[in-house]
Structures are given as structure tokens and as C-alpha cells.
């Protein structure tokens, strides 16, 4: 593996203000657990002119790793490790979807390093975008979307934003949307469902110099049940092929998928079906069907049955349908 390309500046920030100042020029990148950033750097994923000139280490900021229930909210510091969230009795008690999402993210080793802030800010997952040595000048880097005509088995099933067919891979994100969370940053509060975007290389609406400081999740209404399900090749480590989080009460339903679109995908059609209805297998089935009604099929282009080249994304549509159904049933 290549050694990491040199960068000129390394800041161990001790306050949020110091970090935001160091990041404000847009030439440095923030590092929390580092599990996404180091891979980006080591594999030289980014274009040369986007390679950071500096790294701002956020882990050295004290007081940003906490889990507490306060004033009607679950408050999780941005530097809180995923494993701590997964193990937290406080989270498990009322925010099952978040707890389950944290416990299924990555591997035990990565969960012990990765933070909630990093997880929701991670870059898109696309093997063209992520190819080593910036091999593909893809849409997000100013070029064309190679996945559209290439191998798109892991790509969006709900079309593209700005011509990009990559997906957001966060396991935490759909849980936060389903649980109606708010992302607190160094300068504002953002509703979770408005937090993600296609913004050049970045996958969030964060401005230069803006960092996540806290995730705030309201205490669910009485009777609310939430759940998170993830489908991946390997149970132990993989990014999601599809994941789904749902929070359903007698009068409300919030359902969000991820890894199916550029940003977490709020399944409003399914929510409308489920809202206020008793959960039954038939209802869940119909909700799953409703979710994929708007799916965009990318046909495979494989010419030989055995080599499985570019099988397309039809299978993800099937997986999404079933996973939505099962997640709803898990909220019974």
C-alpha cells in the first residue's frame, strides 16, 4: 500500500473554534476517527487539486464525546464512537433504530474508532469515485458518471442528483432521519433529512469551516417503535447494500432508506400507507412495493452469463422492497 502523500499542515485542534478556523479556507480536511479520511488519502482517491494541504485533528477537542438524555432529547457528542452508541443502555432504551444502526456499522474494530460525526459526514461510496489513484474523473470530481454505463450493481435505485449515481453509505443516517434528529454544527442546527446533499466532493450541506458538534434526537412519542435493518454481503463488516430505519407510532411513521440514492431516501409513499394503520404483513408488503414504485432500473450490460459483468441494479430494488417490509414488521 502506498504511503500517504505528504501534506503540509497538521493541527491538533483543542477547541471547536480553533478547528473551524483551521478549516475555514477549505484547503484542509477534518479528521475524527479517521476511518474514512485515511482511506481517501492513502488510496489517493481525490483529484490532485483537491488533496488536502492540511489535516485538522478533531479528536483533541475535549468534551465532544458524550451520550446523555437531556431536556427531551438524546444528545450525542460528535466525537462519540459508534461502539459506545451501540453499547449505550440509554440509547437502547428509547432509540432502538439508532442503537441497531450503530451496532451494524462497519466492523468491531472500525466501530471502536469511527465516530458518529464522521459516519454521517463520510464521502459517497462508489467504486469509480473510490478507485485508487483517482483513476476515474467521475461526476463528483468534475467529469462524467462512469457508473451510469459501467458496473452499477451497488448504485442508486432512485436516479441521480446532478448526474451522480453514487450512494450515501452511512448506517447512522437513515436512523437519524427516521428518528427526526437534528444535526448541531459549529454554526447552526440542521434537520437530519436536510443534512445530506450532493455538494461537489462532499456529501453534506456543511460549509467550509463548519463541523458537526452534536446529534440531537427527540424522545420518541409514547408507543413509538423503531428499528433498523441492514443488508450486506458480509454480516461482519460491509457497507450496506441497502439499509432501512423506521420509527412508527400509532399516529406517525417515518421510514428512511440509505445506500439507495445519493442521499438518505425518505420513503414518504410508504410512510403514507403505514401512518395511522395497524401493522400487518399485507401493509408492510404494500409499503415495500410503494417504495420501489419510483425506482429507476439500471439494466445490466453483461454479455456472458458466467462472468456476471455489470448485472445492473435490479437486485437492489428487490432488496429494498423486502427490507422495507421487514423493517416495518420489526416495529410491530
Amino acid at each position: 500500500m502506498k504511503t500517504i502523500k505528504a501534506y503540509s499542515q497538521h493541527v491538533n485542534a483543542t477547541t471547536v473554534a480553533e478547528a473551524t478556523a483551521a478549516l475555514a479556507k477549505g484547503t484542509a480536511m477534518a479528521c475524527a476517527g479517521g476511518t474514512d479520511l485515511l482511506a481517501l488519502l492513502r488510496f489517493e482517491v481525490l483529484p490532485a487539486d483537491k488533496y488536502p494541504q492540511g489535516i485538522v485533528n478533531l479528536k483533541t477537542i475535549p468534551g465532544l464525546d458524550y451520550i446523555k438524555e437531556e431536556s427531551g432529547f438524546l444528545k450525542v457528542g460528535a466525537l462519540t464512537r459508534l461502539e459506545d452508541i451501540a453499547q449505550s443502555a440509554v440509547v437502547q432504551a428509547k432509540w432502538a433504530a439508532l442503537s441497531q444502526a450503530a451496532s451494524r456499522a462497519a466492523s468491531p474494530h472500525v466501530r471502536a474508532m469511527g465516530t458518529i460525526g464522521g459516519n454521517i459526514c463520510q464521502y459517497i461510496r462508489c467504486w469509480y469515485f473510490r478507485a485508487a489513484d483517482n483513476r476515474f474523473n467521475c461526476k463528483r470530481k468534475g467529469g462524467v458518471c462512469w457508473a451510469r454505463l459501467g458496473d452499477n450493481r451497488f448504485h442508486s435505485i432512485f436516479g441521480s442528483m446532478q448526474g451522480c449515481w453514487a450512494v450515501n453509505p452511512s448506517d447512522i443516517a437513515p436512523a437519524l432521519v427516521a428518528l427526526n434528529a437534528t444535526i448541531v454544527t459549529s454554526s447552526r442546527q440542521i434537520a437530519a433529512e436536510s443534512f445530506w446533499a450532493v455538494a461537489g466532493l462532499a456529501s453534506t450541506v456543511l460549509n467550509a469551516g463548519e463541523i458537526v458538534t452534536e446529534v440531537r434526537v427527540p424522545v420518541p412519542a409514547t408507543g413509538t417503535k423503531s428499528a433498523f435493518l441492514k443488508y450486506a454481503y458480509r454480516k461482519s463488516i460491509d457497507f450496506p447494500i441497502v439499509n432501512v430505519a423506521a420509527a412508527i407510532s400509532a399516529s406517525d411513521a417515518r421510514i428512511c432508506l440509505n445506500a439507495v440514492y445519493n442521499i438518505p431516501y425518505r420513503a414518504t409513499a410508504a410512510e403514507n400507507l403505514v401512518r395511522g394503520q395497524p401493522i400487518t404483513p399485507e401493509l408492510a408488503e404494500a409499503a415495500g412495493q410503494a417504495v420501489i414504485a419510483n425506482a429507476t432500473l439500471l439494466e445490466g450490460s453483461g454479455t456472458h452469463p458466467g462472468n456476471n459483468s455489470n448485472p445492473g441494479n435490479a437486485w437492489k430494488i428487490q432488496v429494498a422492497k423486502i427490507l422495507v417490509k421487514r423493517t416495518i414488521l420489526a416495529c410491530q
Binding site: 504511503t3 502523500k5 466492523s107 459501467g150 443488508y231 454480516k235 447494500i241 437486485w315 430494488i317
Partner: protein, 767 residues
């Protein structure tokens, strides 16, 4: 009487077959102190890396190294057209015999290491220098699918290979045994199908690297290699370096199940390292970027199978017509009574990667799997019954094997029957097997079981020199060996200790040493042990006799056992004792030291040589079998492997703990490969898209249910004690087993491997 070492049995109570003995390499590996090739550092060592191609097929039309050469710390840049390397070829393959350029000015696959090698004072400087190269490429037509490369009118590729492929065919293999058409005519029914195996890779633990250091006209090398003799031979033949002036050392090897043994491009690395070290007059470590490890397996292909079978399951004929590197029916030939077999494989040039061979044996075990599975499925039979019904060898039934056993002093046992008995009982096959698609589970999934069996294949004899001395009471094996993770040195020590009557801990055998021509274990690994075990036994017996002779030899103060003869003495626990009076003992140490000239460092014992040649034709008597249980989620396409049982007939178990370790690791690799592992290429560029361990799904220990490992011993190998090796066979055995289990779970055929969710959903008509 011909030489029949399989009639030998390990002495009672000896270390052979004992559990719990400390591994030779246990402490160093457990503590992290064990050295692998990439860990090697020698004084004044420089580092080297090579340019990696961003294209699947391209020619370098211009290369400007000015900026790289100007980088402080860069010591040398070797171009492909430099007289020191230009035109040098390497890579003899076991099939085809083609040779590739060591350092080519063109690329045959994405991330091919081509064009330039940079030498610098650190790895980082190598990377920085490579980034500064200004390379102009001329892209060429590329082929990822073999079928495209073989299509009429396809552009010739791999044209720099010598000899060049003809019509993009690297090699064609045809084997015929019996009369396959007559066999089909004699059958009650014909079964025809095609199975596919997608591209996959080794995902070995250790990346390739090589250290070369010239000391005057002598070359010292540290290599990552199962078979260091191949490196030595090639450097001698192709570069004119005298073997006597080369010292090739191997460290521990990182779990590639034999792949590196054959990996030709490693020999290219060794040559380039030797050239670089000579140019810069300093030691050089050439490092291959492990994140882009390209070599793939040899089982990729499309196999068209035709089977003729009687209604009772007796297989009369099998044919295979394949586009693949290898043929799939060789082990069926060697391990069944099927009288008529035909196989043809066309190995196509392609731009996926070079020289595919890892977890060797997979091609043929997959052939077994598919044939038995389809016959059982077609006839509604238990596949274990089909396998047993067709058990035999080389087209003959087991009665013929029994005659062979009687004629040659083997025990009269039918390995497969015993393997199935142990395995089916341990697995609970009788309760778990059912007709296909008939057992839904309470969780909504479908229950299924899969099965495969083949011959074991490492049981040959190699007449390699073995030598040993006894110094200060310790037996020292003088040899170079390559430890592939079996604890090979410890296993040799067990055999020698057993035969000499020494304590296990009083026999030392080390890796990381050359010791001249004593390549007693090459290749390393399980095949190394079985290849050389006859030699170990015979030479150890010689050494023992030498010690006993010293025990009765006159010396100042009289012999240790006055008035006794060698025949009246024996050795146990490193003590020489009088058979008639076991309390009369002397230690081996005091006897040998008494005859050591000039202190304790000179050995008065020097035993060496080879065993007699086994002259009877080798047969594959010993079998192994695997049983897998799955739960199939028919909505999501997921095959969850919940349990695996594997039984290996080792012939004779030298080290049961190591054998179990190989079984466990092999099954884990094999089942993962059967279900998930597949390389994916971009159809537009030929770039390998899942070239890291995030995208390429090597299983972790959490991804497979319990693996239950069993060993039996029928002493059927053509070696001392009747040994067979174990290692890669366990991985190969299970590398298509989820297809059979999926069929049992759903009643739907899935002959497209790996059995990923996409393929499952397609097979089930869900997409």
C-alpha cells in the same frame, strides 16, 4: 521386496500424532515477533517499487523520468528498455510454458507492474518518485471476458509473451480416458449443464516482496516463496548466477495456500531485485503494492458438462468442454470408477490478470462437486450415496483398489466409506439431508445441505537430500524449508524425534536458512512434508544407528555401554538405554559430546541422503469430504452458512493441531469463495473495481457458522506412514459447495459461482 514405507508406523508414544506440542513457530507468531519477507531489513538497504499501469492494455509510448530522478533520495530508476533488464523473460508456467518479460514497456492488465522500477532511500520516496513520472500511454483493445478474446476477428493480445498466443489461445488441454461416446450410449440418461466460475483472487495475507543483496559476486536473497529452488534455478539459468554463489532464504509465509509457489511474476520480482541491487551496489527491498495484488485463481471459466448415468447413479461417462485455464475432471478420474472421461479446456489470453493459480486444486474439486450434485439431483438420490457408489480409481472400482492394497502392503480400507461414516455422523447428515426444496424453516428461510468429496492429492515422494547432525545433545536438521503456516519445521522435528527416540524439543529445524543444497522441503507446506518424509525417516534411522554405535565405541575410560552391542541398545526420550536393563541409561548428549572433537560444537554424527525410490505407481486412496448447512433467504438472495463439517483422511496424522488449523482456515476460505468472492471489472476500461478488502469480500471469522474438523488415518499414501498432506485441498473442496446446498434448499439449480445474492435472485426468478 520393493520399498514400502507406508508399512512403517510411528513409534508408540512418539511426537507423531500428539496434540498440544508447542509449535516451532508458536511463540514468535503469537507475539508478533515472527519475520515475514517484508519485515526483513539489512544494513544499508534501499527500497524499490514499480510503476503500476492504470490501463488494462496499453503501450508506454513516452516516459520522462527527469523529475523523479531529481527527487532527493532517489538512487536509481530502471526502465524496461535498459540493457540491464531489456528482453529478460521469466515465468515458466506449469501449463503452456510461456514466458513473460520481466519488465515490459506495455501492460496486459490494470495495475500491471510495468515500465519502471524506482530505487530510493525509503518507501515513501519511492511513492513520491513514481508520482513524478511522466508516462504517455497508448491504449489498446482489451478483453476481460474469455469469450470475447476468443471470438473470430478478435485483436491479438499478450503478443509480447513468448511464445505468443495463437488466436488468443494460450494453451489447449485435452485428456481422454476410455470411450466417452460409448459410455453415453450405455447410459440410461444424459445430464447436460453448464457451470461458470467468476474471477477471484488469492487475498493472501502477505504481500509480495523480495530483498536482494550482493556481497561481491555472491547474491543473498530473502524471498516470499513456497519453493525457493525455483527462484534459484531461474536466476541461475536466465541470469547466469552460479547456484553455489546464491543464498536464498525464506521466512514464514503468509497463508497463500500454495499460490506463491507457482506465481511466476514473483520470479520476475526476484530478478528485478537482483538487477537493482547490483546496479546500486546496496541491498534493495523490492515491494509489491499489496493493495493491488492482482494474481487470480485458476478455476475461472465456463464448463460445459455432459454426464451419462445409469438409473441407480452409476456414472458411465463424463465430458467437459471448457473455456478455462484447466480441466475439471482429473480428480474424478483419479478418484472414481467412472470408466469414460473426456475433457478439453481452452485457456484464453485476457486482460484480467496474469497467470492464475491460487488455492490450487479448486478446478477439479469443483468438477467433482458439480458432477455428483447433478447426478444426485437428477435421480433424486443422496449425493453421498452417489459418491460412494462411484468410488474407485482410474476408472476401476474399489475391488481393484483392494487388490492393489493387498499386492503392495497397504491396509485394506476404503477411505471414502470411513470419511463418510465419520462426517455424516458428526454433521447429522441423516437428519439434515432432505429432498430439494422441502424444508422451510420457522424464520421464513429454506434449509439446505451441501456435500462434496474428492481425493486428497499430496502424497508424492521427492528424493531430496536430508542431512542432520547432533551437537550438544540436539539434533539439528540442515536444510532450507519454507513454512506456509503448517509449522513445517515442527512437523519435521516430530518425525525425526519419533524415529531417533529423541524428545521433540531436542530436534531443531529452522526456516530462514539456506544451508546450501539441502532443500529437503521444497516446496514447503504439506506437500513438502509428505514429499520428504521418507527421507526424514531413513536418515533419522541412520543417525540413530550412529549414536548407538558411539554408545558402544571404545574411548578413554572405556565405552559408555561396555560389552554391549548396538542391537542391545535403544533410544527413548533422548536417552540411550540397555533394552534388557532399561535403568542403564546415558544421555545422547553426554555420548555425543564425548566424541565431539574440540568441545561440543563438532558433531560426531552426520547422517544424510535420501530414501530409496518408491517404484509402484502412485494411487490416490485417501479421500476427504465436506458437509455444509445453509439457510437460504429467498427474498433477499442470501445464503447463510450455518455449519460446516469437514473430514480429511490424512493417511497418517503427523500434527493434528496443524491439520485442524489447515482444515479450519481452508474451509473458511473455500466457503467464502463459493458464496461471495468475485473480482469485478469495469466494462468500459477493464479496471478492476473491487481491488481492495472493502469491496472484495474476504470473509471474517464472523461470517461463517461453526466449522467442525475431523481427521482419520487409513495409511493410504505412497509415503512413510502412508501420509497425505493437507492444506489447499480443504479450501478447494468447499469452493463451490454453496451451489449444492442452494439446490437442496430450493430445488433450483445455481451453477454460477460465486453464489452471490444477485445470482441467487436471478436463479429464483426474483429479478
Amino acid at each position: 521386496m520393493t520399498y514400502q514405507p507406508w508399512t512403517y508406523r510411528p513409534p508408540e508414544g512418539s511426537p507423531v500424532g500428539q496434540r498440544g506440542l508447542r509449535r516451532n513457530d508458536g511463540l514468535s507468531k503469537a507475539s508478533g515477533a515472527a519475520l515475514y519477507t517484508k519485515d526483513i531489513k539489512v544494513g544499508g538497504m534501499l527500497y524499490a517499487k514499480m510503476l503500476m499501469s492504470p490501463y488494462a492494455h496499453a503501450i508506454i509510448t513516452n516516459l520522462d523520468t527527469t523529475a523523479a530522478a531529481a527527487l532527493p533520495g532517489v538512487v536509481d530508476i530502471l526502465r524496461w528498455d535498459d540493457p540491464d533488464i531489456a528482453g529478460q523473460r521469466s515465468a515458466r508456467l506449469s501449463d503452456g510454458n510461456q514466458k513473460w518479460l520481466c519488465l515490459a514497456g506495455r501492460t496486459d492488465h490494470y495495475n500491471h507492474q510495468v515500465g519502471v522500477a524506482v530505487v530510493a532511500k525509503s518507501e515513501e520516496l519511492c511513492d513520491r518518485a513514481l508520482r513524478l513520472l511522466n508516462v504517455t500511454w497508448n491504449q489498446q483493445t482489451f478483453y476481460i471476458a474469455d469469450e470475447d478474446a476468443l471470438a473470430p476477428g478478435a485483436t491479438p493480445i499478450l503478443t509480447e509473451v513468448s511464445p505468443a498466443p495463437v488466436n488468443n489461445v494460450l494453451n489447449t488441454t485435452i485428456n481422454t480416458w476410455g470411450d466417452v461416446e460409448a459410455g453415453f450410449l450405455a447410459s440410461d440418461r444424459i445430464i447436460e449443464f453448464t457451470y461458470f466460475r467468476g474471477d477471484n483472487l488469492s487475498a493472501c495475507v502477505e504481500p509480495a516482496s523480495v530483498v536482494a543483496e550482493w556481497r561481491g559476486e555472491y547474491l543473498d536473497m530473502w524471498v516470499r516463496q513456497q519453493n525457493p529452488t525455483l527462484i534459484q534455478q531461474e536466476l541461475a539459468l536466465d541470469m547466469g548466477i552460479p547456484i553455489a554463489k546464491m543464498d536464498i532464504r525464506v521466512t514464514h509465509q503468509g497463508g497463500a495456500f500454495g499460490g506463491i509457489n507457482w506465481l511466476p511474476h514473483y520470479r520476475q520480482l526476484a530478478k528485478i531485485a537482483a538487477v537493482l541491487a547490483k546496479r546500486v551496489k546496496q541491498p534493495v527491498k523490492l515491494i509489491f503494492d499489496e493493495a493491488k495484488f492482482q494474481c487470480a485463481n485458476d478455476d475461472v471459466g465456463t464448463y460445459n458438462i455432459k454426464i451419462g448415468v445409469k438409473n441407480d447413479g452409476t456414472i458411465m461417462a463424463v465430458s467437459s468442454d471448457a473455456i478455462a485455464m484447466r480441466c475439471p475432471l482429473g480428480k474424478l478420474r483419479n478418484g472414481s470408477k467412472i470408466p469414460n472421461i473426456y475433457q478439453k479446456s481452452v485457456w484464453a489470453a485476457n486482460n484480467r490478470s496474469h497467470r492464475q493459480m491460487f488455492r490450487h486444486g479448486t478446478v477439479e474439486t469443483n468438477g467433482n462437486q458439480e458432477v455428483y450434485s447433478h447426478v444426485a439431483g437428477e435421480l433424486g438420490l443422496d449425493p453421498t450415496d452417489v459418491a460412494l457408489l462411484n468410488d474407485g480409481f482410474e476408472g476401476q472400482d474399489w475391488a481393484a483398489m483392494t487388490a492393489y492394497q493387498i499386492a503392495n502392503g497397504f491396509e485394506q480400507r476404503q477411505s471414502l466409506a470411513e470419511v463418510l461414516d465419520v462426517g455424516k455422523t458428526a454433521f447429522g447428515w441423516a437428519e439434515r439431508w432432505h429432498l430439494p426444496g422441502t424444508r422451510p424453516l420457522a424464520n421464513g428461510k429454506m434449509h439446505g445441505v451441501g456435500f462434496n468429496t474428492t481425493i486428497k492429492w499430496s502424497n508424492g515422494q521427492a528424493q531430496k537430500n536430508v542431512a542432520m547432525t547432533v551437537r550438544d545433545g540436539k539434533v539439528q536438521l540442515l536444510a532450507r524449508t519454507s513454512d506456509m503456516g503448517h509449522d513445517s519445521p515442527g512437523n519435521y522435528a516430530r518425525v525425526v524425534a519419533a524415529e531417533m527416540g529423541m524428545l521433540y524439543q531436542d530436534v531443531t529445524a529452522r526456516t530462514e536458512r539456506d544451508n546450501g543444497s539441502f532443500d529437503y522441503s521444497a516446496p514447503g507446506g504439506s506437500s513438502g512434508l509428505v514429499n520428504t518424509i521418507c527421507n526424514l525417516v531413513e536418515v533419522a534411522r541412520d543417525a540413530k544407528q550412529q549414536i548407538l554405535a558411539l554408545a558402544v565405541k571404545d574411548r578413554t575410560g572405556g565405552p559408555f555401554f561396555p560389552g554391549k552391542t548396538v542391537e542391545e541398545l535403544d533410544i527413548k526420550d533422548s536417552m540411550v538405554f540397555e533394552i534388557a536393563n532399561p535403568l542403564n541409561t546415558k544421555t545422547v548428549k553426554e555420548i555425543c559430546n564425548a566424541f565431539s572433537v574440540g568441545g561440543i560444537t563438532q558433531s560426531p554424527v552426520f547422517a544424510h541422503g535420501t530414501a530409496p525410490l518408491v517404484t509402484i505407481a502412485k494411487k490416490y486412496q485417501c479421500k476427504h469430504a465436506a458437509f455444509v448447512e445453509v439457510e437460504v433467504d429467498t427474498e433477499l438472495g442470501d445464503i447463510d452458512v450455518t455449519k460446516v463439517t469437514i473430514v480429511d483422511d490424512e493417511g497418517c496424522v503427523i500434527n493434528p493441531d496443524a491439520c485442524n488449523g489447515q482444515q479450519y482456515g481452508g474451509v473458511h476460505m473455500g466457503v467464502a469463495k463459493s458464496r461471495d468472492e468475485e473480482r469485478v471489472y469495469d466494462p468500459q476500461t477493464g479496471v478492476w473495481l473491487n481491488s481492495d478488502l472493502i469491496w472484495y469480500p474476504v470473509w471474517t471469522s464472523l461470517d461463517c457458522g461453526p466449522i467442525d474438523c475431523h481427521l482419520i488415518e487409513t495409511h493410504g499414501g505412497n509415503t512413510a506412514y502412508g501420509c497425505f498432506g493437507t492444506g489447499e485441498n480443504t479450501s478447494a473442496l468447499t469452493s463451490a459447495i454453496t451451489g449444492d446446498a442452494f439446490y437442496n434448499a430450493t430445488g433450483v439449480r445455481l451453477d454460477d459461482f460465486p453464489t452471490t445474492p444477485i445470482r441467487v435472485l436471478k436463479a429464483l426468478g426474483k429479478i
